[in-house]
């Protein structure tokens, strides 16, 4: 019996073993090797195929093994589990019942099939469909899913004008952050005169907390390449670049392999599929500068210059790489083109909301039970993502805030959990979709410190070209530093607000224009925490070092000496078996003693106030 699933022909059973970097670091290579060996020893090699795949998105649970066609889902697989898994694959075998099944984060119950797991069944995996189901280093796998069919359709059944029209009717908006209608750029490039034009894929994904572009490049590189080739055909370009950040070595390697294989198959290069359209793609490796994600800085970087943004207009579509018309879009934007060409604009426009079509892809991280990559239709609420898919906060702690859009985005409180996730709603709330980071925090995170982190990031990544961004962000950082150190004054809040507005207005590029957002949104939604820091000198999350102290509770200390050993400044005194004491003058509040004191004693407490109060 042959079964088709996700378009891939399979022998009786197929074990998909995730080889995303997350699962590899959790040991999935060893699992792969030992499963192959076990299956061979059991004489099952003919009936059971073992396949390596890209990332399934649920990295937190890795290493992952999925058994198709049943859709069995084994999580956190250990080498010791492999013999049991192998035996279960024999014709008489039964799915395993306990370990290593996934256990629901809310109920603790084991779940057998991945489509019953809330992390997956509430998602709509379109762009991510292949991620985790194909071997990204095997173009054959991609072809078996119908890959490159849309390229054939585009080249032989559609004119460039029709393609742009299809993109227009689909309502696709750029997924690089700002949500600019994609077709406008395509049309401008298409209409631009000349035959030297460029297609660039922006894979500089630098937002802290975002890694969905990396996952797509590592899990399904051909879907991105294909989008670029179709774009090249539509606008009349012959050359494309993928600008990938240096921090993503595996993505670069997978892309190199994919480009090479596509070239050999005639999908890239001269006379693609024997048509008269030629198009080549090259990888350009970034070198660790966040601002190069900004499109004009990215162009400067490819041209071999410092990655400094320049004023627009002219827009890249008018004057881009070497002054030629250039289409720059995000990884996810290109990955969507395949679907629009294949299934049509109407199908695509049927997903999402009135103004935002298609799906949104997020990296869900921070204090969340199920972290990983999620893809959902535009317009579902933050609550559905965080609680429905993400399983809420571990340990049942209350939700405090979610930061979307990285350093350009904002921090939204619990009252706004029912905000729909799309470009316009997030922007209206003062945040941003950004490239798709979503960091969830609970009561253990200090909101002022969080805002300070993002401003610090902006000061370091500002290219220094324009004064509001270069000086203004540093000014904001100084003030925030004062506040977390307990030296803030009430008027600082007003200064932060007016500075923030000034930087937004006066900066040249998106970096400066959005850098104050984390501060402005936290001032809007969490102002009382700023005020507490300033007036009461209190950090309710007990994070800000200058506003807390540690003490040893005499009734619980057993004098075990663990804390004295870890203290880096020898601030803890006390003989073995005697109650210990922290010298508050020497203590640097690193918190190591607090972390290392065995939970069964729990003798060290973190308290408000910079010093022990005498009563």
């Amino acid at each position: 019996m042959k079964i088709r699933r996700g378009g891939i022909r399979m022998s009786n059973k197929t074990c998909l073993i995730c080889q995303g970097t997350g699962c590899v670091s959790a040991g999935s290579r060893e699992i792969h090797a030992s499963l192959e060996k076990e299956i061979e020893q059991l004489g099952l090699s003919k009936d059971v195929k073992v396949k390596r795949t890209g990332c399934h998105g649920f990295c937190e649970q890795g290493p992952l093994v999925v058994v198709e066609p049943e859709g069995l889902f084994y999580a956190g697989v250990k080498v010791d589990d492999v013999p049991d898994i192998a035996r279960s694959l024999s014709p008489q075998g039964e799915p395993l019942e306990e370990k290593p099944l996934y256990h629901d984060s809310a109920t603790g119950n084991p779940i057998t099939h991945y489509h019953d797991i809330s992390f997956y069944n509430k998602q709509q995996r379109t762009v991510l469909q292949n991620c985790g189901n194909i071997d990204p280093e095997e173009i054959g796998d991609y072809l078996a899913t119908g890959g490159y069919q849309s390229l054939r359709k585009a080249l032989f059944e559609m004119s460039p004008g029709q393609i742009v029209d299809e993109v227009k009717r689909s309502g696709l908006r750029g997924l690089g952050g700002a949500g600019f209608p994609t077709w406008i750029k395509w049309e401008a490039c298409q209409r631009a005169p000349g035959d030297e034009k460029y297609v660039i894929c922006n894979a500089d994904e630098g937002d802290p907390g975002a890694f969905q572009d990396r996952s797509i490049l590592e899990g399904d590189p051909h879907s991105v390449l294909k989008g670029m080739i179709i774009a090249g055909y539509a606008i009349g370009a012959r050359k494309g670049y993928v600008y990938v950040r240096a921090e993503y070595p595996l993505a670069i390697k997978r892309l190199e392999i994919a480009i090479d294989q596509a070239r050999k198959k005639g999908f890239i290069g001269k006379s693609i599929l024997d048509s008269n359209f030629s198009f080549d793609i090259e990888i350009f490796q970034g070198a660790g500068a966040f601002v190069c994600g900004e499109e004009t800085a990215l162009l400067a970087s490819i041209e071999g210059k410092r990655g400094m943004p320049r004023p627009r207009p002219p827009f890249p579509a008018q004057s881009g790489l070497w002054g030629k018309p250039t289409l720059i879009s995000n990884v996810k934007t290109y990955a969507n083109i395949r679907w629009i060409v294949n299934k049509g604009a109407d199908w695509f426009a049927g997903i999402g909301t009135e103004g935002c079509k298609g799906t949104a892809i997020f990296s869900l991280t921070g204090k969340i039970a199920n972290s990983g990559i999620v893809e959902v239709p535009m317009g579902i609420t933050l609550r559905e993502i965080i609680y429905g898919i993400g399983g809420g906060i571990p340990g049942g702690k209350p939700f405090k805030a979610v930061q979307t859009g990285g350093p350009s985005g904002g921090c939204l409180p619990a009252e706004l959990l029912d905000t729909p996730v799309d470009f316009d709603s997030l922007k209206a709330a003062g945040s941003m979709m950004g490239s798709g980071g979503m960091v969830v925090v609970d009561e253990d995170t200090c909101i002022v410190d969080l805002a300070r982190y993002f401003v610090d990031f902006a000061t370091k990544e500002s290219c220094g070209e324009c004064a509001p961004c270069r000086l203004g962000t540093n000014q904001m950082l100084d003030i925030l530093n004062d506040i977390v150190e307990g030296k803030g004054e009430m008027e600082d809040i007003d200064i932060l607000e007016s500075l923030g507005m000034g930087i937004k207005k006066g900066s040249l590029c998106g970096l400066g224009q959005t850098a104050p957002n984390p501060v402005l949104t936290t001032l809007k939604y969490f102002r009382e925490e700023y005020e507490e820091h300033i007036i009461e000198k209190k950090c309710r999350a007990k994070v800000c070092k200058d506003l807390i102290h540690f003490i040893i509770m005499p009734d619980r200390c057993t004098g075990c000496h663990i804390c004295t050993k870890v203290c880096p400044v020898n601030a803890i005194s006390g003989d073995p078996k005697q109650i210990h004491e922290i010298d508050q003058e020497l203590c640097i509040k690193c918190g190591l003693c607090f972390e290392k004191c065995p939970p069964k004693f729990g003798a060290i407490e973190k308290n408000y106030g910079s010093k022990v109060m005498e009563d």
Binding site: G209, F211, G288, G307, T365, F457
Partner: protein, 154 residues
């Protein structure tokens, strides 16, 4: 032992002399030589007919184009908020203890450098580091000690 000027010449052969070859050439030097020496930058400038200041200007803009001596293994610790929430500081402490250098420094035997880096995209498996091109994730003190020991013996 290769000579820097030969290395530069080879890279020029591979990437050409146009301005857009500058970054790939500089990246090639770093890949071979761990960092950009003054000599290498002057050599690149000569080959590409640019001023040395221009080459230095470009190189110094990018954190991965190191202009200071770096060890054979560059350890980049992710300093992003998500890694910070999950114990980045302890990772740095362990590295500093084991290698007896601070962040930004290189060991005397030119083997290791510790740096902090922006998000490397492993937030869901924090804390994470890159050692040259290899990411290591979900780190604990024990795991890290084992990894570094292996590099020490290489």
């Amino acid at each position: 032992m290769y000579q820097i000027d030969n290395l530069v010449k080879d890279l020029v052969k591979q990437h050409g002399r146009a301005r857009e070859a500058l970054m790939p050439i500089l990246q090639g030097v770093v890949a071979q030589h761990n960092y950009l020496t003054d000599e290498a930058m002057v050599e690149v400038a000569k080959e590409l007919d640019l001023s040395a200041a221009e080459v230095y200007g470009t190189a110094s803009f990018y954190t991965f184009l190191d202009t200071e001596p770096r060890g054979k293994y560059v350890i980049r610790v992710c300093k992003t908020i998500t890694c910070a929430m999950k114990g980045k500081n302890e990772i740095i402490e362990v590295l500093q203890e084991m290698l007896r250098i601070n962040v930004g420094e290189t060991t005397l035997n030119d083997k290791f450098t510790i740096l902090e880096t922006n998000c490397i995209g492993w937030c869901h498996k924090a804390p994470a580091i890159l050692i040259n091109d290899t990411p290591y994730t979900d780190l604990t003190r024990e795991k890290l000690v084992k990894i570094i020991k292996e590099y020490m013996h290489q």
